[in-house]
Symmetry: C2
Subunit: 332 residues, 2 copies
Protein backbone atom coordinates (compact mmCIF):
# COMPACT_ATOMS: atom_id res chain seq x y z
CA UNK A 1 0.00 0.00 0.00
CA UNK A 2 1.47 3.35 -1.05
CA UNK A 3 2.18 5.97 1.57
CA UNK A 4 3.42 9.53 1.88
CA UNK A 5 6.55 9.66 4.08
CA UNK A 6 7.87 12.90 5.49
CA UNK A 7 11.56 13.75 5.77
CA UNK A 8 12.04 14.74 9.43
CA UNK A 9 14.58 17.46 8.55
CA UNK A 10 13.30 19.23 5.44
CA UNK A 11 9.61 18.22 5.74
CA UNK A 12 9.86 17.21 2.09
CA UNK A 13 7.91 14.05 1.35
CA UNK A 14 8.02 11.10 -0.99
CA UNK A 15 5.44 8.62 -2.17
CA UNK A 16 6.66 5.10 -1.36
CA UNK A 17 4.71 2.96 -3.84
CA UNK A 18 6.12 -0.57 -4.06
CA UNK A 19 3.16 -1.79 -6.17
CA UNK A 20 4.29 0.50 -8.96
CA UNK A 21 7.45 -1.57 -9.38
CA UNK A 22 5.33 -4.15 -11.19
CA UNK A 23 4.82 -1.88 -14.18
CA UNK A 24 6.92 -2.40 -17.31
CA UNK A 25 10.16 -0.59 -16.51
CA UNK A 26 13.88 -0.93 -17.12
CA UNK A 27 15.84 -1.94 -14.05
CA UNK A 28 18.89 0.13 -14.94
CA UNK A 29 19.16 3.65 -16.21
CA UNK A 30 21.07 2.63 -19.29
CA UNK A 31 18.82 -0.23 -20.36
CA UNK A 32 16.16 0.23 -22.95
CA UNK A 33 12.69 -0.99 -22.29
CA UNK A 34 11.20 -3.95 -24.06
CA UNK A 35 7.70 -2.99 -25.02
CA UNK A 36 5.08 -5.55 -24.09
CA UNK A 37 4.02 -7.87 -26.90
CA UNK A 38 0.99 -5.76 -27.56
CA UNK A 39 0.65 -2.11 -26.62
CA UNK A 40 -2.14 -1.64 -24.06
CA UNK A 41 -2.83 1.87 -25.36
CA UNK A 42 -3.50 0.93 -29.00
CA UNK A 43 -7.03 0.90 -30.36
CA UNK A 44 -8.32 -2.68 -30.29
CA UNK A 45 -6.51 -3.48 -27.02
CA UNK A 46 -8.95 -1.66 -24.72
CA UNK A 47 -9.23 -4.78 -22.52
CA UNK A 48 -5.57 -4.34 -21.48
CA UNK A 49 -6.39 -1.24 -19.42
CA UNK A 50 -8.90 -0.61 -16.65
CA UNK A 51 -12.29 0.61 -18.00
CA UNK A 52 -12.25 4.15 -19.39
CA UNK A 53 -13.49 7.12 -17.34
CA UNK A 54 -13.69 9.45 -20.35
CA UNK A 55 -13.28 9.30 -24.12
CA UNK A 56 -13.82 11.22 -27.31
CA UNK A 57 -15.53 8.66 -29.51
CA UNK A 58 -17.28 8.33 -32.84
CA UNK A 59 -21.06 8.60 -32.35
CA UNK A 60 -22.62 5.28 -31.44
CA UNK A 61 -19.45 3.44 -30.43
CA UNK A 62 -19.69 1.78 -26.99
CA UNK A 63 -17.16 2.40 -24.18
CA UNK A 64 -13.97 0.31 -24.06
CA UNK A 65 -14.20 -0.54 -27.75
CA UNK A 66 -12.45 1.03 -30.76
CA UNK A 67 -13.87 4.28 -32.12
CA UNK A 68 -12.16 6.71 -29.72
CA UNK A 69 -9.66 9.45 -30.51
CA UNK A 70 -8.60 10.31 -26.93
CA UNK A 71 -9.21 7.90 -24.04
CA UNK A 72 -8.73 8.36 -20.27
CA UNK A 73 -8.30 5.33 -17.99
CA UNK A 74 -7.19 4.81 -14.38
CA UNK A 75 -3.45 4.07 -14.14
CA UNK A 76 -2.96 0.33 -13.84
CA UNK A 77 0.08 0.90 -11.61
CA UNK A 78 -1.07 3.88 -9.54
CA UNK A 79 1.33 5.87 -7.37
CA UNK A 80 -1.65 6.68 -5.16
CA UNK A 81 -4.38 4.60 -3.54
CA UNK A 82 -8.07 5.14 -4.11
CA UNK A 83 -8.76 4.25 -0.46
CA UNK A 84 -7.48 6.12 2.55
CA UNK A 85 -5.95 3.13 4.36
CA UNK A 86 -3.98 3.56 7.52
CA UNK A 87 -0.22 3.33 7.20
CA UNK A 88 1.88 1.06 9.38
CA UNK A 89 5.23 2.76 8.94
CA UNK A 90 4.97 5.79 11.23
CA UNK A 91 6.80 5.95 14.56
CA UNK A 92 7.16 8.52 17.31
CA UNK A 93 9.97 10.06 15.25
CA UNK A 94 8.81 9.55 11.66
CA UNK A 95 5.51 10.58 10.06
CA UNK A 96 3.62 8.82 7.29
CA UNK A 97 0.12 8.86 5.92
CA UNK A 98 -1.70 6.77 3.39
CA UNK A 99 -1.02 8.06 -0.12
CA UNK A 100 -4.56 8.42 -1.35
CA UNK A 101 -5.38 10.24 -4.54
CA UNK A 102 -6.27 9.68 -8.18
CA UNK A 103 -3.88 8.63 -10.94
CA UNK A 104 -5.26 8.61 -14.48
CA UNK A 105 -3.71 8.11 -17.92
CA UNK A 106 -4.75 10.16 -20.95
CA UNK A 107 -4.07 8.12 -24.10
CA UNK A 108 -3.53 10.73 -26.79
CA UNK A 109 -3.90 8.74 -30.00
CA UNK A 110 -5.67 5.51 -30.98
CA UNK A 111 -2.75 4.70 -33.33
CA UNK A 112 0.69 3.73 -32.06
CA UNK A 113 2.32 7.18 -32.30
CA UNK A 114 5.37 7.87 -30.13
CA UNK A 115 6.06 11.54 -30.92
CA UNK A 116 3.29 13.89 -29.81
CA UNK A 117 4.43 16.69 -32.11
CA UNK A 118 3.46 14.66 -35.18
CA UNK A 119 -0.26 14.80 -34.33
CA UNK A 120 -2.46 17.33 -36.14
CA UNK A 121 -4.12 20.39 -34.66
CA UNK A 122 -7.55 18.78 -34.43
CA UNK A 123 -6.09 16.01 -32.28
CA UNK A 124 -4.17 18.51 -30.10
CA UNK A 125 -7.46 20.32 -29.51
CA UNK A 126 -9.10 17.08 -28.37
CA UNK A 127 -6.13 16.34 -26.07
CA UNK A 128 -6.20 19.77 -24.41
CA UNK A 129 -9.95 19.51 -24.06
CA UNK A 130 -9.58 16.08 -22.40
CA UNK A 131 -7.01 17.50 -19.93
CA UNK A 132 -9.38 20.37 -19.21
CA UNK A 133 -12.44 18.20 -18.66
CA UNK A 134 -10.69 15.65 -16.41
CA UNK A 135 -9.04 18.36 -14.34
CA UNK A 136 -12.39 20.16 -13.97
CA UNK A 137 -13.97 16.88 -12.89
CA UNK A 138 -11.32 16.10 -10.27
CA UNK A 139 -11.22 19.69 -9.00
CA UNK A 140 -14.85 19.33 -7.94
CA UNK A 141 -13.80 16.75 -5.32
CA UNK A 142 -12.88 18.74 -2.20
CA UNK A 143 -10.35 16.12 -1.10
CA UNK A 144 -7.87 17.06 -3.83
CA UNK A 145 -5.82 20.15 -3.12
CA UNK A 146 -3.58 19.88 -6.18
CA UNK A 147 -3.82 18.54 -9.73
CA UNK A 148 -0.71 17.64 -11.70
CA UNK A 149 -0.93 16.99 -15.46
CA UNK A 150 2.37 15.52 -16.63
CA UNK A 151 3.82 14.22 -19.86
CA UNK A 152 6.91 11.99 -20.06
CA UNK A 153 7.88 11.48 -23.71
CA UNK A 154 10.57 8.81 -23.93
CA UNK A 155 11.75 6.12 -21.54
CA UNK A 156 14.73 8.13 -20.30
CA UNK A 157 12.34 10.99 -19.52
CA UNK A 158 10.47 8.75 -17.08
CA UNK A 159 7.98 7.16 -19.45
CA UNK A 160 7.20 3.47 -19.10
CA UNK A 161 5.31 3.04 -22.38
CA UNK A 162 6.12 4.74 -25.68
CA UNK A 163 2.56 5.21 -27.04
CA UNK A 164 1.75 8.92 -26.59
CA UNK A 165 0.05 9.52 -23.26
CA UNK A 166 -0.01 11.88 -20.28
CA UNK A 167 -0.83 11.37 -16.62
CA UNK A 168 -3.16 13.25 -14.31
CA UNK A 169 -2.52 13.03 -10.57
CA UNK A 170 -4.81 14.46 -7.88
CA UNK A 171 -3.36 14.69 -4.36
CA UNK A 172 -4.66 15.69 -0.94
CA UNK A 173 -1.85 18.22 -0.39
CA UNK A 174 0.05 20.90 -2.27
CA UNK A 175 3.43 19.58 -3.46
CA UNK A 176 6.61 21.59 -2.66
CA UNK A 177 7.10 23.03 -6.16
CA UNK A 178 3.55 24.39 -6.40
CA UNK A 179 3.71 25.64 -2.81
CA UNK A 180 6.90 27.52 -3.62
CA UNK A 181 5.28 29.10 -6.70
CA UNK A 182 2.08 30.04 -4.87
CA UNK A 183 4.01 31.48 -1.90
CA UNK A 184 6.36 33.46 -4.17
CA UNK A 185 3.49 34.78 -6.28
CA UNK A 186 1.53 35.74 -3.15
CA UNK A 187 4.54 37.58 -1.69
CA UNK A 188 4.99 39.50 -4.97
CA UNK A 189 1.29 40.36 -5.04
CA UNK A 190 1.28 41.53 -1.43
CA UNK A 191 4.26 43.81 -2.06
CA UNK A 192 3.60 45.01 -5.62
CA UNK A 193 -0.15 44.67 -5.96
CA UNK A 194 -0.04 42.62 -9.18
CA UNK A 195 0.51 39.14 -10.56
CA UNK A 196 4.20 38.29 -11.03
CA UNK A 197 3.39 36.14 -14.05
CA UNK A 198 1.41 38.97 -15.68
CA UNK A 199 4.47 41.21 -15.09
CA UNK A 200 6.66 38.54 -16.62
CA UNK A 201 4.50 38.46 -19.76
CA UNK A 202 4.84 42.23 -20.15
CA UNK A 203 8.61 42.04 -19.59
CA UNK A 204 9.10 39.16 -22.04
CA UNK A 205 7.00 40.64 -24.84
CA UNK A 206 8.70 44.00 -24.33
CA UNK A 207 12.29 42.68 -24.39
CA UNK A 208 11.37 39.90 -26.90
CA UNK A 209 14.80 38.18 -26.66
CA UNK A 210 13.39 35.06 -24.99
CA UNK A 211 10.11 34.84 -26.93
CA UNK A 212 9.60 31.66 -28.97
CA UNK A 213 6.16 32.56 -30.32
CA UNK A 214 3.15 34.57 -29.31
CA UNK A 215 -0.45 35.09 -30.35
CA UNK A 216 -3.33 37.06 -28.86
CA UNK A 217 -4.03 34.36 -26.25
CA UNK A 218 -0.77 32.59 -25.36
CA UNK A 219 2.95 33.40 -25.02
CA UNK A 220 5.69 30.76 -25.44
CA UNK A 221 9.16 31.77 -24.16
CA UNK A 222 12.35 30.45 -22.60
CA UNK A 223 12.28 31.60 -18.97
CA UNK A 224 14.99 33.93 -17.67
CA UNK A 225 16.17 31.41 -15.04
CA UNK A 226 15.78 28.30 -17.27
CA UNK A 227 16.90 25.24 -15.30
CA UNK A 228 17.70 23.13 -18.35
CA UNK A 229 18.70 23.93 -21.96
CA UNK A 230 15.69 24.92 -24.09
CA UNK A 231 13.24 24.99 -21.17
CA UNK A 232 10.10 26.64 -22.56
CA UNK A 233 7.00 27.91 -20.80
CA UNK A 234 3.59 28.72 -22.26
CA UNK A 235 1.46 31.23 -20.33
CA UNK A 236 -2.06 32.44 -21.06
CA UNK A 237 -1.85 36.20 -21.63
CA UNK A 238 -5.12 36.76 -19.78
CA UNK A 239 -4.77 36.23 -16.01
CA UNK A 240 -6.23 32.95 -14.71
CA UNK A 241 -5.11 30.95 -11.66
CA UNK A 242 -6.49 27.53 -12.60
CA UNK A 243 -6.38 25.85 -15.99
CA UNK A 244 -9.52 23.84 -15.27
CA UNK A 245 -11.65 26.88 -14.48
CA UNK A 246 -10.68 28.61 -17.73
CA UNK A 247 -13.58 28.76 -20.20
CA UNK A 248 -13.38 25.76 -22.55
CA UNK A 249 -13.09 28.02 -25.60
CA UNK A 250 -10.05 29.77 -24.07
CA UNK A 251 -8.45 26.52 -22.90
CA UNK A 252 -8.46 24.89 -26.34
CA UNK A 253 -6.74 27.91 -27.89
CA UNK A 254 -3.68 26.51 -26.09
CA UNK A 255 -3.65 23.64 -28.62
CA UNK A 256 -2.08 25.45 -31.62
CA UNK A 257 0.51 27.21 -29.40
CA UNK A 258 1.53 23.95 -27.65
CA UNK A 259 1.67 22.05 -30.94
CA UNK A 260 3.79 24.70 -32.64
CA UNK A 261 6.16 24.91 -29.66
CA UNK A 262 6.63 21.13 -29.53
CA UNK A 263 7.24 21.05 -33.29
CA UNK A 264 9.89 23.76 -32.94
CA UNK A 265 11.60 21.80 -30.14
CA UNK A 266 11.31 18.56 -32.11
CA UNK A 267 12.92 20.04 -35.23
CA UNK A 268 15.56 22.21 -33.57
CA UNK A 269 16.79 19.50 -31.19
CA UNK A 270 16.31 16.34 -33.28
CA UNK A 271 13.26 14.90 -31.52
CA UNK A 272 14.50 15.09 -27.93
CA UNK A 273 12.89 13.34 -25.02
CA UNK A 274 10.93 15.82 -22.95
CA UNK A 275 8.59 16.36 -20.03
CA UNK A 276 5.85 18.90 -19.69
CA UNK A 277 3.71 19.79 -16.72
CA UNK A 278 0.62 21.95 -16.39
CA UNK A 279 1.10 24.10 -13.28
CA UNK A 280 -2.40 25.01 -12.11
CA UNK A 281 -3.39 26.75 -8.89
CA UNK A 282 -4.75 24.69 -5.96
CA UNK A 283 -8.46 24.12 -6.74
CA UNK A 284 -9.63 24.98 -3.20
CA UNK A 285 -7.95 28.41 -3.45
CA UNK A 286 -9.95 29.19 -6.59
CA UNK A 287 -9.32 32.14 -8.88
CA UNK A 288 -6.73 34.12 -6.88
CA UNK A 289 -5.31 37.36 -8.33
CA UNK A 290 -1.72 36.19 -7.70
CA UNK A 291 -1.29 32.69 -9.18
CA UNK A 292 -1.26 32.18 -12.97
CA UNK A 293 -1.48 28.73 -14.55
CA UNK A 294 1.03 27.75 -17.23
CA UNK A 295 2.79 24.84 -18.95
CA UNK A 296 6.49 24.16 -18.39
CA UNK A 297 8.22 22.11 -21.12
CA UNK A 298 11.59 20.54 -20.21
CA UNK A 299 13.61 18.93 -23.03
CA UNK A 300 15.81 16.19 -21.52
CA UNK A 301 19.12 16.91 -23.23
CA UNK A 302 21.34 16.69 -20.17
CA UNK A 303 21.58 14.52 -17.08
CA UNK A 304 20.83 15.67 -13.59
CA UNK A 305 23.94 15.01 -11.51
CA UNK A 306 25.30 15.40 -8.01
CA UNK A 307 25.27 19.20 -8.21
CA UNK A 308 21.52 19.29 -8.75
CA UNK A 309 20.82 16.58 -6.12
CA UNK A 310 23.07 18.19 -3.57
CA UNK A 311 22.26 21.86 -4.09
CA UNK A 312 18.65 21.84 -5.25
CA UNK A 313 19.83 24.20 -7.98
CA UNK A 314 20.84 23.79 -11.63
CA UNK A 315 23.71 24.50 -14.01
CA UNK A 316 22.44 25.41 -17.48
CA UNK A 317 24.98 25.59 -20.29
CA UNK A 318 22.62 27.22 -22.83
CA UNK A 319 21.58 30.84 -22.35
CA UNK A 320 17.79 31.09 -22.66
CA UNK A 321 18.28 33.98 -25.11
CA UNK A 322 20.28 31.63 -27.39
CA UNK A 323 17.73 28.84 -26.94
CA UNK A 324 14.81 31.11 -27.86
CA UNK A 325 16.64 32.38 -30.94
CA UNK A 326 17.21 28.83 -32.21
CA UNK A 327 13.59 27.84 -31.55
CA UNK A 328 12.24 30.99 -33.24
CA UNK A 329 14.32 30.36 -36.35
CA UNK A 330 12.95 26.87 -37.03
CA UNK A 331 11.13 26.83 -40.38
CA UNK A 332 7.89 24.89 -39.84
CA UNK B 1 30.80 34.63 -18.35
CA UNK B 2 28.73 32.50 -15.95
CA UNK B 3 26.04 34.13 -13.85
CA UNK B 4 23.54 33.29 -11.14
CA UNK B 5 19.98 34.07 -12.31
CA UNK B 6 17.09 34.26 -9.90
CA UNK B 7 13.59 32.97 -10.68
CA UNK B 8 11.30 35.92 -9.95
CA UNK B 9 8.54 33.68 -8.57
CA UNK B 10 10.21 31.01 -6.43
CA UNK B 11 13.52 32.86 -5.79
CA UNK B 12 15.23 29.63 -6.84
CA UNK B 13 18.35 30.28 -8.90
CA UNK B 14 20.35 28.66 -11.66
CA UNK B 15 23.91 29.01 -12.84
CA UNK B 16 23.89 29.92 -16.54
CA UNK B 17 27.35 28.81 -17.69
CA UNK B 18 27.64 28.72 -21.49
CA UNK B 19 31.44 28.14 -21.35
CA UNK B 20 30.79 24.75 -19.76
CA UNK B 21 29.13 23.57 -22.99
CA UNK B 22 32.63 23.19 -24.44
CA UNK B 23 33.44 20.25 -22.18
CA UNK B 24 33.16 16.69 -23.53
CA UNK B 25 29.48 15.86 -23.22
CA UNK B 26 26.82 13.95 -25.13
CA UNK B 27 24.31 16.19 -26.84
CA UNK B 28 21.38 13.86 -26.25
CA UNK B 29 20.35 11.97 -23.16
CA UNK B 30 20.44 8.62 -24.92
CA UNK B 31 23.82 9.02 -26.58
CA UNK B 32 26.93 7.58 -25.05
CA UNK B 33 29.98 9.72 -24.73
CA UNK B 34 33.10 9.19 -26.78
CA UNK B 35 36.04 9.49 -24.44
CA UNK B 36 38.75 11.81 -25.70
CA UNK B 37 41.67 10.09 -27.39
CA UNK B 38 43.69 10.25 -24.23
CA UNK B 39 42.19 10.58 -20.78
CA UNK B 40 43.24 13.88 -19.15
CA UNK B 41 43.03 12.32 -15.69
CA UNK B 42 45.47 9.42 -16.28
CA UNK B 43 48.97 9.54 -14.84
CA UNK B 44 51.34 10.75 -17.54
CA UNK B 45 48.78 13.18 -19.00
CA UNK B 46 49.15 15.85 -16.30
CA UNK B 47 49.63 18.53 -18.99
CA UNK B 48 46.02 18.00 -20.14
CA UNK B 49 44.66 19.62 -16.97
CA UNK B 50 45.33 22.97 -15.31
CA UNK B 51 48.22 22.81 -12.79
CA UNK B 52 47.43 20.88 -9.60
CA UNK B 53 46.45 22.66 -6.38
CA UNK B 54 47.00 19.59 -4.19
CA UNK B 55 48.31 16.03 -4.53
CA UNK B 56 49.37 12.98 -2.58
CA UNK B 57 52.69 12.11 -4.22
CA UNK B 58 55.64 9.80 -3.79
CA UNK B 59 58.43 11.65 -1.95
CA UNK B 60 60.62 13.67 -4.29
CA UNK B 61 58.25 13.71 -7.29
CA UNK B 62 57.64 17.22 -8.66
CA UNK B 63 54.14 18.72 -9.15
CA UNK B 64 52.28 17.99 -12.40
CA UNK B 65 54.33 14.89 -13.09
CA UNK B 66 53.55 11.22 -12.43
CA UNK B 67 54.05 9.92 -8.90
CA UNK B 68 50.71 11.01 -7.41
CA UNK B 69 47.96 8.84 -5.97
CA UNK B 70 45.25 11.53 -5.62
CA UNK B 71 45.43 14.82 -7.51
CA UNK B 72 43.31 17.98 -7.28
CA UNK B 73 43.13 20.44 -10.17
CA UNK B 74 40.91 23.40 -11.11
CA UNK B 75 38.01 22.33 -13.33
CA UNK B 76 38.88 23.10 -16.94
CA UNK B 77 35.21 23.84 -17.68
CA UNK B 78 34.17 25.62 -14.49
CA UNK B 79 30.55 26.33 -13.66
CA UNK B 80 31.78 29.32 -11.66
CA UNK B 81 34.15 32.20 -12.37
CA UNK B 82 37.19 33.00 -10.32
CA UNK B 83 36.57 36.74 -10.79
CA UNK B 84 33.55 38.64 -9.63
CA UNK B 85 32.64 40.28 -12.92
CA UNK B 86 29.53 42.32 -13.31
CA UNK B 87 26.65 40.65 -15.10
CA UNK B 88 24.90 42.22 -18.08
CA UNK B 89 21.66 40.25 -17.95
CA UNK B 90 19.76 41.88 -15.08
CA UNK B 91 16.80 44.18 -15.69
CA UNK B 92 14.37 46.07 -13.51
CA UNK B 93 12.32 42.85 -13.30
CA UNK B 94 14.97 40.11 -13.28
CA UNK B 95 17.97 39.73 -10.98
CA UNK B 96 21.38 38.24 -11.81
CA UNK B 97 24.81 38.33 -10.30
CA UNK B 98 28.17 37.08 -11.47
CA UNK B 99 28.60 33.40 -10.60
CA UNK B 100 31.90 33.58 -8.81
CA UNK B 101 33.23 30.66 -6.84
CA UNK B 102 35.70 27.78 -7.01
CA UNK B 103 35.28 24.57 -9.00
CA UNK B 104 37.93 21.87 -8.46
CA UNK B 105 38.28 18.25 -9.60
CA UNK B 106 39.61 15.52 -7.32
CA UNK B 107 41.16 12.78 -9.48
CA UNK B 108 40.85 9.66 -7.37
CA UNK B 109 43.27 7.25 -9.03
CA UNK B 110 46.35 7.62 -11.24
CA UNK B 111 45.26 4.53 -13.21
CA UNK B 112 42.22 4.57 -15.52
CA UNK B 113 39.70 3.10 -13.09
CA UNK B 114 36.01 3.78 -13.73
CA UNK B 115 34.37 2.14 -10.69
CA UNK B 116 35.29 3.77 -7.39
CA UNK B 117 34.26 0.74 -5.33
CA UNK B 118 37.12 -1.33 -6.78
CA UNK B 119 39.78 0.84 -5.10
CA UNK B 120 41.38 -0.43 -1.89
CA UNK B 121 40.99 0.98 1.60
CA UNK B 122 44.33 2.78 1.58
CA UNK B 123 43.26 4.69 -1.53
CA UNK B 124 39.82 5.47 -0.06
CA UNK B 125 41.60 6.93 2.97
CA UNK B 126 43.68 9.19 0.72
CA UNK B 127 40.57 10.27 -1.18
CA UNK B 128 38.63 11.17 1.98
CA UNK B 129 41.67 12.97 3.32
CA UNK B 130 41.97 14.96 0.09
CA UNK B 131 38.27 15.97 0.29
CA UNK B 132 38.85 17.00 3.90
CA UNK B 133 41.96 19.07 3.24
CA UNK B 134 40.55 20.90 0.20
CA UNK B 135 37.28 21.65 1.98
CA UNK B 136 39.21 22.93 5.02
CA UNK B 137 41.31 25.11 2.72
CA UNK B 138 38.30 26.62 0.91
CA UNK B 139 36.33 27.10 4.14
CA UNK B 140 39.03 29.49 5.35
CA UNK B 141 38.02 31.93 2.57
CA UNK B 142 35.22 34.05 4.03
CA UNK B 143 33.66 34.59 0.59
CA UNK B 144 32.42 30.98 0.39
CA UNK B 145 29.26 30.30 2.33
CA UNK B 146 28.80 26.72 1.11
CA UNK B 147 30.99 23.84 -0.02
CA UNK B 148 29.59 21.04 -2.17
CA UNK B 149 31.58 17.83 -2.69
CA UNK B 150 29.90 15.79 -5.42
CA UNK B 151 30.54 12.54 -7.23
CA UNK B 152 28.93 11.60 -10.55
CA UNK B 153 29.86 8.02 -11.45
CA UNK B 154 28.74 7.27 -15.01
CA UNK B 155 27.78 9.51 -17.92
CA UNK B 156 24.05 9.14 -17.34
CA UNK B 157 24.61 10.22 -13.72
CA UNK B 158 25.97 13.55 -14.95
CA UNK B 159 29.64 12.60 -15.37
CA UNK B 160 31.51 13.91 -18.40
CA UNK B 161 34.63 11.72 -18.02
CA UNK B 162 34.70 8.10 -16.84
CA UNK B 163 38.02 8.13 -14.94
CA UNK B 164 37.11 8.17 -11.21
CA UNK B 165 36.88 11.75 -9.94
CA UNK B 166 34.79 14.03 -7.76
CA UNK B 167 34.12 17.76 -7.84
CA UNK B 168 34.35 20.40 -5.14
CA UNK B 169 32.34 23.58 -5.57
CA UNK B 170 32.56 26.63 -3.30
CA UNK B 171 29.81 29.22 -3.66
CA UNK B 172 29.07 32.65 -2.21
CA UNK B 173 25.56 31.63 -1.08
CA UNK B 174 23.77 28.72 0.56
CA UNK B 175 21.97 26.60 -2.06
CA UNK B 176 18.26 25.74 -1.57
CA UNK B 177 18.78 22.12 -0.50
CA UNK B 178 21.30 23.00 2.24
CA UNK B 179 19.18 25.97 3.31
CA UNK B 180 16.18 23.69 3.68
CA UNK B 181 18.21 21.22 5.78
CA UNK B 182 19.72 23.92 7.99
CA UNK B 183 16.34 25.61 8.51
CA UNK B 184 14.62 22.30 9.31
CA UNK B 185 17.37 21.25 11.70
CA UNK B 186 17.30 24.65 13.40
CA UNK B 187 13.52 24.49 13.83
CA UNK B 188 13.80 21.01 15.35
CA UNK B 189 16.56 22.17 17.69
CA UNK B 190 14.60 25.23 18.80
CA UNK B 191 11.54 23.11 19.60
CA UNK B 192 13.14 19.91 20.94
CA UNK B 193 16.51 21.07 22.20
CA UNK B 194 18.54 18.50 20.27
CA UNK B 195 19.97 17.68 16.85
CA UNK B 196 17.44 16.01 14.52
CA UNK B 197 20.18 13.96 12.88
CA UNK B 198 21.43 12.70 16.28
CA UNK B 199 17.82 11.69 17.05
CA UNK B 200 17.65 9.97 13.66
CA UNK B 201 20.78 7.95 14.46
CA UNK B 202 19.24 6.78 17.75
CA UNK B 203 15.97 5.89 15.99
CA UNK B 204 17.69 4.01 13.15
CA UNK B 205 20.03 1.99 15.36
CA UNK B 206 17.16 1.21 17.70
CA UNK B 207 14.71 0.03 15.00
CA UNK B 208 17.56 -1.40 12.83
CA UNK B 209 15.28 -2.17 9.86
CA UNK B 210 16.92 0.45 7.62
CA UNK B 211 20.53 -0.03 8.79
CA UNK B 212 23.00 -1.10 6.10
CA UNK B 213 26.07 -1.19 8.36
CA UNK B 214 27.38 0.51 11.45
CA UNK B 215 30.59 0.83 13.43
CA UNK B 216 31.58 2.92 16.44
CA UNK B 217 32.09 6.04 14.29
CA UNK B 218 29.69 5.93 11.32
CA UNK B 219 26.18 4.68 10.50
CA UNK B 220 25.09 3.74 6.96
CA UNK B 221 21.33 3.42 6.43
CA UNK B 222 18.53 3.87 3.90
CA UNK B 223 16.62 6.98 4.99
CA UNK B 224 12.96 6.71 5.99
CA UNK B 225 11.85 9.11 3.23
CA UNK B 226 14.26 7.80 0.55
CA UNK B 227 13.68 9.73 -2.67
CA UNK B 228 15.11 7.04 -4.96
CA UNK B 229 15.48 3.25 -4.68
CA UNK B 230 18.50 2.26 -2.54
CA UNK B 231 19.25 5.82 -1.43
CA UNK B 232 21.80 5.44 1.39
CA UNK B 233 23.14 7.99 3.87
CA UNK B 234 26.26 7.80 6.02
CA UNK B 235 26.27 9.89 9.19
CA UNK B 236 29.03 10.36 11.77
CA UNK B 237 27.66 9.07 15.09
CA UNK B 238 29.36 11.89 16.98
CA UNK B 239 27.71 15.27 16.39
CA UNK B 240 29.61 17.61 14.03
CA UNK B 241 28.15 20.31 11.76
CA UNK B 242 30.98 20.61 9.23
CA UNK B 243 32.94 17.80 7.62
CA UNK B 244 36.00 19.99 7.13
CA UNK B 245 36.27 20.97 10.79
CA UNK B 246 36.17 17.33 11.93
CA UNK B 247 39.54 16.15 13.27
CA UNK B 248 41.49 14.48 10.43
CA UNK B 249 41.68 11.19 12.35
CA UNK B 250 37.86 11.13 12.66
CA UNK B 251 37.31 12.17 9.05
CA UNK B 252 39.35 9.35 7.55
CA UNK B 253 37.44 6.75 9.55
CA UNK B 254 34.70 7.47 7.02
CA UNK B 255 36.82 5.70 4.39
CA UNK B 256 36.10 2.05 5.34
CA UNK B 257 32.38 2.78 5.87
CA UNK B 258 32.03 4.56 2.50
CA UNK B 259 34.02 1.87 0.70
CA UNK B 260 31.97 -0.95 2.19
CA UNK B 261 28.69 0.82 1.41
CA UNK B 262 29.68 1.45 -2.22
CA UNK B 263 30.79 -2.18 -2.57
CA UNK B 264 27.41 -3.36 -1.23
CA UNK B 265 25.58 -1.11 -3.69
CA UNK B 266 27.87 -2.19 -6.53
CA UNK B 267 27.30 -5.90 -5.89
CA UNK B 268 23.61 -5.78 -5.01
CA UNK B 269 22.62 -3.61 -7.96
CA UNK B 270 25.08 -4.75 -10.65
CA UNK B 271 27.40 -1.71 -10.66
CA UNK B 272 24.81 1.02 -10.98
CA UNK B 273 25.57 4.60 -11.88
CA UNK B 274 25.38 6.77 -8.79
CA UNK B 275 25.88 10.20 -7.29
CA UNK B 276 27.03 11.08 -3.82
CA UNK B 277 27.21 14.43 -2.10
CA UNK B 278 28.82 15.50 1.16
CA UNK B 279 26.31 17.74 2.94
CA UNK B 280 28.36 19.96 5.23
CA UNK B 281 27.17 22.95 7.26
CA UNK B 282 27.84 26.48 5.97
CA UNK B 283 31.44 27.28 7.01
CA UNK B 284 30.60 30.77 8.32
CA UNK B 285 28.01 29.30 10.72
CA UNK B 286 30.69 27.05 12.23
CA UNK B 287 30.00 24.19 14.62
CA UNK B 288 26.30 24.67 15.35
CA UNK B 289 24.53 22.23 17.69
CA UNK B 290 21.73 21.67 15.13
CA UNK B 291 23.31 20.80 11.77
CA UNK B 292 25.07 17.45 11.26
CA UNK B 293 27.22 16.72 8.20
CA UNK B 294 26.64 13.52 6.24
CA UNK B 295 27.00 11.83 2.85
CA UNK B 296 23.98 11.05 0.67
CA UNK B 297 24.47 8.30 -1.93
CA UNK B 298 21.90 8.14 -4.76
CA UNK B 299 22.02 5.11 -7.09
CA UNK B 300 20.62 6.15 -10.48
CA UNK B 301 18.33 3.22 -11.23
CA UNK B 302 15.30 5.19 -12.33
CA UNK B 303 14.63 8.28 -14.37
CA UNK B 304 13.34 11.53 -12.97
CA UNK B 305 10.15 12.37 -14.86
CA UNK B 306 7.42 14.96 -15.06
CA UNK B 307 6.10 14.10 -11.60
CA UNK B 308 9.38 15.02 -9.95
CA UNK B 309 9.87 18.15 -12.10
CA UNK B 310 6.33 19.32 -11.55
CA UNK B 311 5.84 18.50 -7.90
CA UNK B 312 9.32 18.81 -6.40
CA UNK B 313 8.59 15.46 -4.77
CA UNK B 314 9.44 11.83 -5.59
CA UNK B 315 7.79 8.46 -6.19
CA UNK B 316 9.96 5.63 -4.86
CA UNK B 317 8.97 2.08 -5.79
CA UNK B 318 11.36 0.36 -3.35
CA UNK B 319 10.65 0.53 0.37
CA UNK B 320 13.83 1.64 2.19
CA UNK B 321 13.36 -1.30 4.58
CA UNK B 322 13.55 -3.70 1.61
CA UNK B 323 16.52 -1.82 0.15
CA UNK B 324 18.47 -1.97 3.43
CA UNK B 325 17.77 -5.68 3.78
CA UNK B 326 19.15 -6.40 0.33
CA UNK B 327 22.26 -4.26 0.93
CA UNK B 328 22.89 -5.85 4.34
CA UNK B 329 22.70 -9.35 2.88
CA UNK B 330 25.44 -8.81 0.27
CA UNK B 331 28.36 -11.15 0.96
CA UNK B 332 31.54 -9.08 0.55
Amino acid sequence: MAEFRKDPVTSGWVIVAPERAQRPKPSKLTETISEPGRCPFCSGNEDDTPPEVFAYRAPGTPPNQPGWSVRVVPNRYPALNSLNDVSQQSSSFYEAMAAHGVHEVIVESPAHVENLSTLDEVQFTRIISAYHQRMAKLSSDARWRSLLLIKNQGIAAGGSLLHVHSQLIAMPMIPPQLESEVDGAKAYYDFRGGCVYCAMIVEEISSSTRVVSVDSDYLAFCPYASRVPYETWILPRRHAACFESTAPADAVRLAPRLRETLRRIDQALDSPLFNYVIHSGPPHQGETPFYHWHIEILPRLIQIGGFEWGSGSYINTVRPEDAALLLREVAL
